[in-house]
Symmetry: C2
């Protein structure tokens, strides 16, 4: 694929919105001022009724589609966003941002804290999903968008969609919650905690002040990503992809990478460690762990979702064991009990949790139909 | 439970057998001389026909039952081994050993290499399951046991049982393979590799020469165990045990252990790190990864098992996702195709992979019946 790809939106340029009004956070702390980096694809229509927000997952960012000039690889969800694609930029004005606390341009741990003149590092406050949604709301206002025709997200992005639908119920027409969960299980939290311990026990972590020492916890990030990566793939996908293939065709009886899967995971970890900030990773995993929209509703998901007015599409993937279909079904059941409009699709897909990034036919068709139908209804209204 | 427990075999004392004959290993290397530490429970009968071998799993050892003088806790499988228990010491003479390469008394990385006068450390050769079985065979000869009435093991122990049944087919009357697999999947290997990388990237690892520097890779071991522990428990078991319980009842918005599950995993990791040797852990996980009894049989498990003459019992646990029932069923199907005698039980149990250590009724009854029936048949023969 290249920038000449006819189905691509071509080259895109990220923009930055600066906000001076302090953002009060769930933790009680606040961010006095901040930048949000975002991209837009497609054109906002005359009555500004076709805006669609993309919420990114753990290691995602604003560059969801199209190409940055000179890049060989497109944005992370290019397969699904573009002219004629599931999220059709001929119809929608797509907004994709980097969440606060991230490390791709929006204010986060690697940014300079204006109060101290030094990088935030570990002093950057832990964000909750609702804090991100609040900051996304401000971006929406800045862009003169009166409401979202749709808010769409996978995994941690799906949690932001749920939060949008209950915190700003009138502003979300359609909510697409993909490969997500109403809250993490103890097992999910356990995996995140191992990843965090891997990072924070790396001697190069320096209690999070690694940048001041011109270093970073590379090994910790590698371990965190290796572990994460296993949980994003299905057992079947790994069997299919690697099986028990040996790099050199024979057992080496040493501790070098011997099986292909070892080599692959090390490579993935290595790549990730050079592009992601450790403090951001810690923050993002905490937001995942903390997410529980029922916390203000006596733990009752039905009560919590009864405020929503959006039409929902919930999608899960058969081999996703990090956020299995049963977790999506919890959301669906609660929406039904709250008498909301909801469509649900469990996609038969071998890829595991990562499936949400792939243009799988059933999934793409369903997403396309859901986004098209609703748009038509609006047009007729 | 105490040493006065009527169903306990009471106090036990470990013994050591020294071997001078070199052990040629799968890797091509050899161990010139070695010790094997073992325990026995019950009495060898006159015709030495009632010996039963216990093969231990990844972090196991010879102390499977009874009490070491002064200890409050019994051996790791005390629930299933003792007078009147599933592995009945009134019937069987039970032999339980610490495998070579371990760190509980048998020769391993923490032992002195007689050739250098220094600890082996990382120079201890990587063992294959077949090497352990060969060393167990020598112990059997030393104890004047002509054959095993049964060989029993869970997880990595089950792999040793499979190996016994094909390498010494005439010497195994009954083979009990519990919560095991014919070989690891890429996902299994992936988890092991993350654990190994956690250990070997710990700066205190010193390429395995940590003991010479009077230190050890504590953090790496903690991470390895935290990760392992998650995979030994079922998702349900973790939900039941911890849910989303918070240590202090509220979100802390920092990186201290906030959820109970975080605190529990850290504790388990910490405990383990003080009792297990890092080089041993590396070795044991490699033996798991490498195990593939079909490697000498064109990858054909049926062909491979066709040599066996033992009666098999294969047991799996419904919520075990590290070695799920489907992996046990592969063994059962191959045994059936090879026209072997095999009983199979999938136990409905919430505990995950760890279930094999618990005295679950269906499991205990099945094990008891399988071991009893066969003994009677022998007595009648």
């Amino acid at each position: 694929m290249s920038s000449n790809d006819v189905e691509s939106i071509g080259n895109v340029v990220a923009q930055t919105a600066h906000f001076d009004e302090p953002l009060l956070l769930r933790s009680g702390r606040e961010i006095a001022q901040y930048d949000i980096v975002y991209e837009t694809y497609g054109t906002l229509n005359d009555d500004a009724s076709n805006a669609l927000l993309i919420c990114h997952a753990l290691s995602g960012h604003h560059h969801a589609a199209g190409f940055h000039e000179g890049d060989a690889k497109p944005g992370w969800w290019n397969e699904c966003i573009g002219p004629g694609k599931a999220i059709d930029t001929n119809t929608y004005f797509v907004v994709s941002l980097n969440n606060l606390g991230g490390c791709h341009g929006s204010t986060g741990p690697t940014s300079i804290n204006p109060e101290t003149g030094k990088v935030y590092g570990p002093d950057f406050p832990i964000m909750a999903v609702r804090d991100w949604v609040k900051s996304q709301y401000r971006l929406m206002q800045r862009l003169n968008i009166p409401h979202w025709a749709a808010v769409v997200g996978g995994s941690l992005g799906g949690m932001q969609v749920i939060r949008w639908s209950i915190d700003y119920p009138q502003l979300v027409k359609k909510a697409v919650v993909i490969a997500s969960a109403p809250k993490l299980t103890a097992q999910n939290i356990g995996f995140n905690e191992v990843a965090r311990q891997a990072i924070s026990s790396d001697p190069e972590f320096h209690d999070g002040h690694y940048l001041e020492k011109d270093t970073y916890p590379k090994q910790g990030l590698i371990l965190a990503r290796m572990l994460g990566h296993i949980t994003y793939l299905s057992d079947d996908a790994m069997r299919e992809k690697f099986g028990r293939e040996l790099k050199t065709g024979k057992l080496s009886f040493d501790f070098d990478a011997n099986f292909q899967v070892e080599s692959y995971l090390r490579y993935q970890g290595e790549q990730f460690s050079s592009r992601f900030d450790a403090n951001s990773y810690l923050l993002m995993t905490k937001a995942l762990d903390y997410f529980d929209p029922t916390c203000d509703h006596d733990g009752d998901l039905v009560k919590c979702l009864s405020q929503a007015t959006a039409k929902f599409l919930v999608v899960s993937f058969s081999t996703d064991w990090r956020f299995p279909p049963s977790r999506s079904e919890e959301i669906v059941q609660a929406l039904l009990a709250a008498r909301k409009s909801v469509s649900y699709l469990e996609v038969d897909a071998p890829q595991g949790h990562d499936a949400f990034l792939f243009p799988i036919d059933d999934y793409v068709n369903c997403l396309t139909a859901f986004l098209k139908t609703d748009t038509k209804e609006q047009n007729h209204a």
